[in-house]
Amino acid sequence: MENPPRDAQEVEWIKRVQRGEGEAFALLIELHERRVRALVFHLVRRRDEVEDIAQEIFIKAFRGIRSYNFRSSFGTWLGRIAANHCYDYLRREQKARVSYYWQMSEEGSRKLEEAAEKRDALTAEEEVVVRDLADKLLAQAPAGDRMILVLKEIEDQSVEEIAEVLNLRVNTVKVRLHRARKRMLQQLKKWRQRR
């Protein structure tokens, strides 16, 4: 039976916290901190707010840990709390400003698209431009779209994992993902038409 020591140890820590041993929670934080920070950063895109938001997520997790019933992995359960917390944050967030992409000439943006299409390695400057473009498109996307796009495209989670975190069916995730991508491209088209 496969039972990696780390999982057994994590289970033991969780049970200790559920019994009221608060100091065991520090061990769980150290185990999952990096992943939570990454998710918060990719969703929120503000370096100076990552620490505070991550703290709030762990505090919520501590308060609700007695409700954790070991049916999903602790990381997934924690990811769900993080996703919900960031979702509430994103709904309050303001829209982003203009992107570097629009400062490029027509020729420049065409070359960029060709390079991206061929999956050629982008130059450092091109990388900054496309990253900024994607950042701004994500920033203006509705919170639900942003959530699902970040989990899939940036966190590289499978559709099944996303379904578990967001408590949705797999088919629902697929449909929502496709719609989110489509809306993002519609926004890109609108910006282009205004250019």
Binding site: F25, R37, E51, E117, V130, L133, L138
Partner: protein, 161 residues
């Protein structure tokens, strides 16, 4: 092949060569070809975002969270104690009030602070009426021996016994 099928495949087949039916569709459908180009651009941006370094874990993050939790627990305990104290005082005050009310209702009618009951007042009234003209029980207000007076005054017909 339908356009929505082709576009979904373009989105999903990241890094993989597109199958022939999809490539053929993109050649014949300008709208889907444009969609594919735009998606590749955005996809490149999303991949670039994924490569961006995540803010490093600050030293002592876990300890800070645990300290904050302890602080919140302490604040919660103090709040509970305050309510408990207020609750106890309220209960004591209510008991005292109930006891006082009970005493007022149950205590006998006699006593320095209690007015005489109706029957006693009646007989007291009769006694006053009966002794009103009796010189022995004359109004003390008109007596020579009223408090403050030293002796019989001139012209007074009342004589001490």
């Amino acid at each position: 092949m339908r356009c929505d099928e082709a576009r979904e495949s373009v989105e999903e087949l990241r890094g993989d060569a597109l199958p022939a039916p999809i490539r053929e569709h993109l050649v014949t459908c300008a709208a889907c070809a444009a969609y594919a180009r735009e998606w590749r651009l955005v996809e490149a941006g999303l991949r670039a975002l994924a490569r961006e370094p995540v803010p490093a874990a600050s030293l002592g993050f876990a300890a800070r969270v645990v300290r904050r939790l302890e602080g919140l627990a302490e604040a919660g305990r103090k709040s509970e104690e305050l309510w408990e104290r207020a609750g106890r005082r309220f209960v004591y005050a209510t008991l005292l009030l109930a006891l006082t009310t009970l005493l007022v209702l149950l205590l006998p009618s006699s006593g320095p602070l209690r007015a005489p009951p109706t029957t006693e007042a009646y007989f007291a009234g009769l006694e006053v009426a009966a002794t009103a003209n009796d010189p022995l029980f004359a109004d003390e207000a008109s007596s020579d021996f009223a408090p403050g007076r030293s002796g019989p005054t001139e012209g007074s017909s009342a004589k001490p016994r």
